[in-house]
Symmetry: C2
Subunit: 423 residues, 2 copies
Amino acid sequence: MFSPDSLQPRMMLVNRFSCTLKNQSVKIGHCSKVPRNVNMEKLQHGYLFPEIERHELLHLKKYPNANVIDLGIGDTTKPLPTIVTSRMVDFVRGLSTAEGYKGYGPEQGEKALRKAIAAEIYKNLDIKPSEVFVSDGAQCDISRLQAYIDSSVIIGHAGKFVDRIGKYENIEYMTCGPQTDFFPDLHTISRPQLIFFCSPNNPTGHAATRKQLQQLVDFAKVNGSIIIYDSAYSAYITDNSPKSIFEIPGAREVAIEVSSFSKLAGFTGVRLGWTVVPEELLYSNGFPVLHDFNRIVCTCFNGASSISQAGGLACLSPEGLNAVQSLVDYYMENARILVNALTSLGLTVYGGKNAPYVWVRFPGSKSWDVFAGILENTHIITIPGSGFGPGGEGYIRISAFGQRDSILEASERLKYLLYQEKL
Amino acid sequence: MFSPDSLQPRMMLVNRFSCTLKNQSVKIGHCSKVPRNVNMEKLQHGYLFPEIERHELLHLKKYPNANVIDLGIGDTTKPLPTIVTSRMVDFVRGLSTAEGYKGYGPEQGEKALRKAIAAEIYKNLDIKPSEVFVSDGAQCDISRLQAYIDSSVIIGHAGKFVDRIGKYENIEYMTCGPQTDFFPDLHTISRPQLIFFCSPNNPTGHAATRKQLQQLVDFAKVNGSIIIYDSAYSAYITDNSPKSIFEIPGAREVAIEVSSFSKLAGFTGVRLGWTVVPEELLYSNGFPVLHDFNRIVCTCFNGASSISQAGGLACLSPEGLNAVQSLVDYYMENARILVNALTSLGLTVYGGKNAPYVWVRFPGSKSWDVFAGILENTHIITIPGSGFGPGGEGYIRISAFGQRDSILEASERLKYLLYQEKL
């Protein structure tokens, strides 16, 4: 999407992940003369989620009868609302009739869905349907925007990985801890080209305030940067924090917003998301970013599944919006239960108010030690904060995307353990 | 996927397309300091399908009551078999139950589907399920492999566009006409890194013979090239031409195969495809291409829709395979009707035997003139052969993916016109 030669994104707040595999080199076939992309070699091996899975398997080997509760990877668990599935069922049934069959749709998404996203998600924000691009999920669009760390590495933008500090040299990692109200100190940063910002944040669960986001937009405008704003968890905001970067004056000139039905409506497996590129956002030569993004989408993508799009449209109907709000409320009640259990023990707990993640501080401890201790003693899978980057050391993340029974049981086990051990 | 610096793919047989938009530059917003990717400017503007659409709209303006028959873009028109939709309906219904709900699946696709593709599509070819990657369609994987012309342009591999000859300088366009039995003369080619080969071919409808494909595999092996083999139309092969490159000895060491349920089962809107990367295929340094492709898929993609995957699995059941074969037979009967009509007029007609495309020669004529003449006189949309590349001049492509009524009506109109005019 952006220039492979001239682009050096020096600042990125990357809080999303992708999986990996063991990078073992084996020779069992025929060597072509095609060189390997040297950038692939710079990708870091020990990827977080497979590592967590490895620990889980080892644990199950040790305790084959353990009732393990997985509050690690944030995967949705609640069934889809029947209003949504019944519309998808109708659509699928239609596909086997002459009247209902549909082949290729527009790469940018069905008009009705683009219109519904503009009207319902961006109510009163003057987003045009033509600025909305329907995707098969936020991860895919973030990758098409080259805003993942790993995508940047592959394309050669990230620079060398510096083992000593655990960072790539062309990426600026912004520590957003409680001391700065989970917002970067923008005065210390040299001019970035792309700013990746995720709010409500995964893993900290913090939703940026209006004031913070205004600072970010102003910073981007002064520096000529483009913000890639990941709002995948915006439906979980319960206070008056902005649900979209486009609530901030000036954002249309500096920001792209990437979002998803995954956490909004439990579509993690159904695959549906969207990206908003405002007309006012221009490259340095005055050319609209929107036009190039459209071209990229049309070249690299052939549209989201028509069935998923029918489901997305159902989510945005009045009954659909009510139904998905119930899902969100359910997970947020889970989060409240977890927050209450942990604070009752005197722990410092962040998140859980505007996001389904609880971010727990264990001062003086290493994240992986806390993770291991909790797993060993309670059979609960969490995520060590340091796995999200150097700034997460001393924290663990607990996902509230579980069934209520598991959340209650997990709270009891954690209370018991932490009360006993003051871990 | 491949190295952005060192890769110069000098030979590509590109017979697939992606859409585009008008590249108009407007200044209505704020210029960031992010430079535009200069490669985007090299993309050619007048893209084929929008251009065809423009002609169709003009035609409808001129003849508002015309019964236009669209045999242009090869989009499927027949409803999906009920065996396939009923499985998808069951799956979708399950998503609103506690037992049937599923969130994230593996990025590489559901195990059962990978296994079924290996077992049914590659029967007796020893493809392992772990070598099969489920995608949301062939176009997306071809783009992830950077084997589209436009993807190569965007990433900076294609070189300059030379107006005089209508070609990019780093891409070798192989003319595959009837004089060489629709196969390139491999002796005239300098060593390519990537060879993109589509068989049965779109647009010519020619399926490469076993002997031709053996030549191609041997050529790739000697030159250290990697073949990206697009077999999206293989289900349409009716003679004993290979349905997969992996029927050719040695192919596992030099080829990747990209394919799709789109034309196999009418999944153009449902979105489902796959790519096979054999373990034996290695980069020049001995590292398996499979491992990097896995990493790319995990980084840039989050798996095909679980609903589409349930549909794909149904297609590969014994009843599903019978049902999709009926779809293929229907379109191939359409092709036979078109071929018979056109040959009865003394025209030279290729394709239509192993592919649902008919490739008709109009010696001495320009493709766009023939296209315009047919549209004006019969209200039938075709595709001018020159739109697929310089080698297609003097041809038009007719798609057989229509409803039978339209195909019969179109045949009558064409017979009448061509008999009258000997166009």
